[in-house]
């Protein structure tokens, strides 16, 4: 039996399908501002990538509903990277060639931020931020077109250490870090900072990447008998097991972490072992009850809890669009230099409560954070300090 679809009809269908698929590219306005994104929607960092993408999209929705920036709509063009640097670079190249209006970019890792930096410097037309809080990016000279929408990891440690020095002067500390670039980032600088604050780092424990069993590390912790144990370079595992075993051994150390370990939904399943876990958080939590009009708006847009990555994406989009707005208001071209200059002009900026104090961006970071503590009964992080600014 002869097929009903001739070769000619098939070709016509294929051509019209291709045109339909390409429609967004043709429809793209010249004055549209595009934020490109190499975002990890799969792989080890997917839990954050999914939330970050939602946070960026929601802030852009708010901006666009209010008429855009100087009448220009803002759009996020992104693709999944699987948290692989080579894939992130490939996505960058693809998106920047497909979208000539990309002036801002969201990158997914320290590796990508470092790899793409020479290209950003060469192009000079894109300002970038991302999921990395690496200390090395906080270098306005060598990473002149990048910024971090929060404190870098060394600054996060400084916030923790200042809190500890205030609560328990002369406290004994143990640093527990994963044997990754992420984990090792703040060790050296923070050990020095601890000494300056009169704190003693009595042990440094390094765990292999992806470590599950931490029995031997807990034995080392018991020998050190610290007042505080600070984890860095982890999301969740192996923190709960560390804390469970330490409690079994009767250790009275207080456990702390940095931003990526601070999502309360991650701790909800852990139960009692999570009670009392503390850490540094650069943003407010979705459910914070202090006055925050922007949080209220987020809760109207999304009735369910949004993870910490969402807040990071949201604030990143806010700072990016504010920079564009200031650049356009000054009548300047949207180059990386001009946008970065506009970003650095942000002083005592009201984030609508996403951060609890007005923020400034003096260099490549927003060096502010607050200590929160997990309450297992309420399944929430509760603030236990004021906002701490570690700007030098």
């Amino acid at each position: 039996m002869k097929s009903g679809i001739t070769k000619r009809i098939f070709m016509a269908l294929a051509a019209s399908s291709a045109l339909f698929a390409a429609q967004p590219a043709f429809a793209q306005g010249d004055d549209e501002i595009v934020i490109g994104g190499s975002i990890p929607l799969t792989g080890v960092f997917a839990f954050a990538g999914v939330a970050i993408e939602a946070g960026i999209q929601d802030y852009l929705k708010i901006v666009n509903e209010e008429g855009g920036i100087d009448g220009r709509q803002v759009r996020l063009a992104y693709e999944d990277t699987g948290y692989q640097v080579d894939q992130s670079v490939a996505v960058f190249n693809k998106l920047t060639s497909q979208n000539p209006n990309i002036r801002l970019y969201y990158g997914d890792s320290t590796g990508f931020s470092r790899t793409i930096n020479p290209e950003l410097e060469r192009r000079g037309d894109i300002m970038m931020a991302g999921a990395s809080f690496a200390t090395e990016i906080n270098d306005p000279e060598n990473f002149s077109n990048q910024f971090i929408a929060g404190p870098d990891y060394t600054e996060m440690y400084s916030i923790l250490l200042e809190y500890i020095a205030q609560e328990t002067p002369g406290a004994k500390l143990v640093f527990v870090n994963s044997d990754t670039e992420f984990g090792r980032d703040p060790i050296e600088s923070s050990t020095a900072r601890a000494q300056e604050l009169g704190l003693e780092v009595v042990e440094q424990i390094i765990t292999p990447p992806g470590a599950v069993d931490v029995s031997t590390e807990v034995l080392k912790l018991r020998r050190a008998q610290p007042d505080y144990t600070i984890f860095h370079g982890y999301v969740l595992a192996p923190l709960p097991e560390f804390m469970t075993q330490a409690k079994q051994l009767g250790l009275e150390t207080k456990f702390m972490g940095t931003f990526w370990s601070m999502d309360s939904s991650l701790w909800a399943d852990v139960g009692d072992a999570a009670d009392g876990f503390m850490g540094v958080m650069p943003y407010r939590y979705y459910y914070d009850e202090e006055e925050a009009p922007m949080l209220e708006r987020i809760r109207q847009m999304r009735p369910d809890y949004q993870a910490t990555g969402y807040m990071q994406g949201f604030l990143t989009a806010m700072l990016m669009t504010e920079s564009v707005k200031r650049t356009l208001e000054a009548g300047e071209e949207l180059t990386a230099d001009n946008m970065k200059k506009a970003l650095n002009s942000i002083e005592d900026f009201d984030t609508g409560g996403i951060v609890g104090v007005p923020i400034s961006v003096p260099g490549n970071t927003v060096p502010v954070g607050r200590i929160y503590q997990y309450d297992a009964a309420e399944q929430r992080m509760e603030a236990v300090s004021d906002w701490i600014n570690v700007q030098e």
């Binding site: 799969t42 997917a46 390094i206 765990t207 292999p208 069993d213 034995l219 595992a237 075993q245």
Partner: protein, 293 residues
Amino acid sequence: MSDFLFFLEVSLAGLGSGALLSLTALAFVLIYKATRVINLAVSEILMMGGYFFFALAAGMSLSPWVALPLAIAGGGLIGAIVERGVIRRMLGESAISVFMVTVGLGSVLVGLVEFVWGTNPRTLPDFTGTAPVFIGQLYISRKIAIAFVVASLVIAIFLLLFRYWRGGVALRATATDQAAAYSCGINVPGVFSAAWIIGCATAAGAGILLGAIGGISPVMGAFGLSALVVVIVGGLDSVMGALVAGLLIGLVEAWAGTYLGGEYKLVSTFIILIVMLMVRPYGLFGTTEIERL
């Protein structure tokens, strides 16, 4: 506490985590022994075991003691489906083709988990208890102690089955010579199915134990790669090798991590692997294969 007691505690912890490696390695060995397929998807089936348990115990609020066998059976079911649906169709294909299919299967399972349960790491409901275990003055993590007992029991049972059970003997016969096994009336495809089902069920069980210690996430299958090192060191087709090499690597990792630093754990493991590949490429207890050229 004296240094010697500390050393003993560290060694016990190493043996415990080594037992977990042995259990995972056993899944590789069972399948390889019968079918000569290196099933890299064991890592992801281990992950599926953890997620099945999570779905049943946390999602459906079943008792952990009901969820446990069901989750293990779920792992076995995946093994059965994969063997009948994919692997058996590839009989006669090159080993590398089958190997690549298992790599692809692993990716499919990770995607499935991310689709159904999302990408967040999760914690399994506790079913192991929290009271610490002390042997005299020596502390050992409760979960690690349980992992050690379970792995030792399971491996002992398998050793006995292979020696005395009819099906175990059939599996050994198939592993030795498939054609001869056929001619003796052994149901070789049935043996293949049984090996995949039992191997994947073992991996799922290891995944539940692993999840109880470190939680579950779509990337927890990376643990399976450590177990692959154990398999190579112990011998790809040796159940006893999986046990001995697992305990050995667990011990060496614990000593290296404690006395040299955590960054030397994996280094020490891979040094053992390299030395073993140079000196005894078929592993401590693996079958020595000699090819005439």
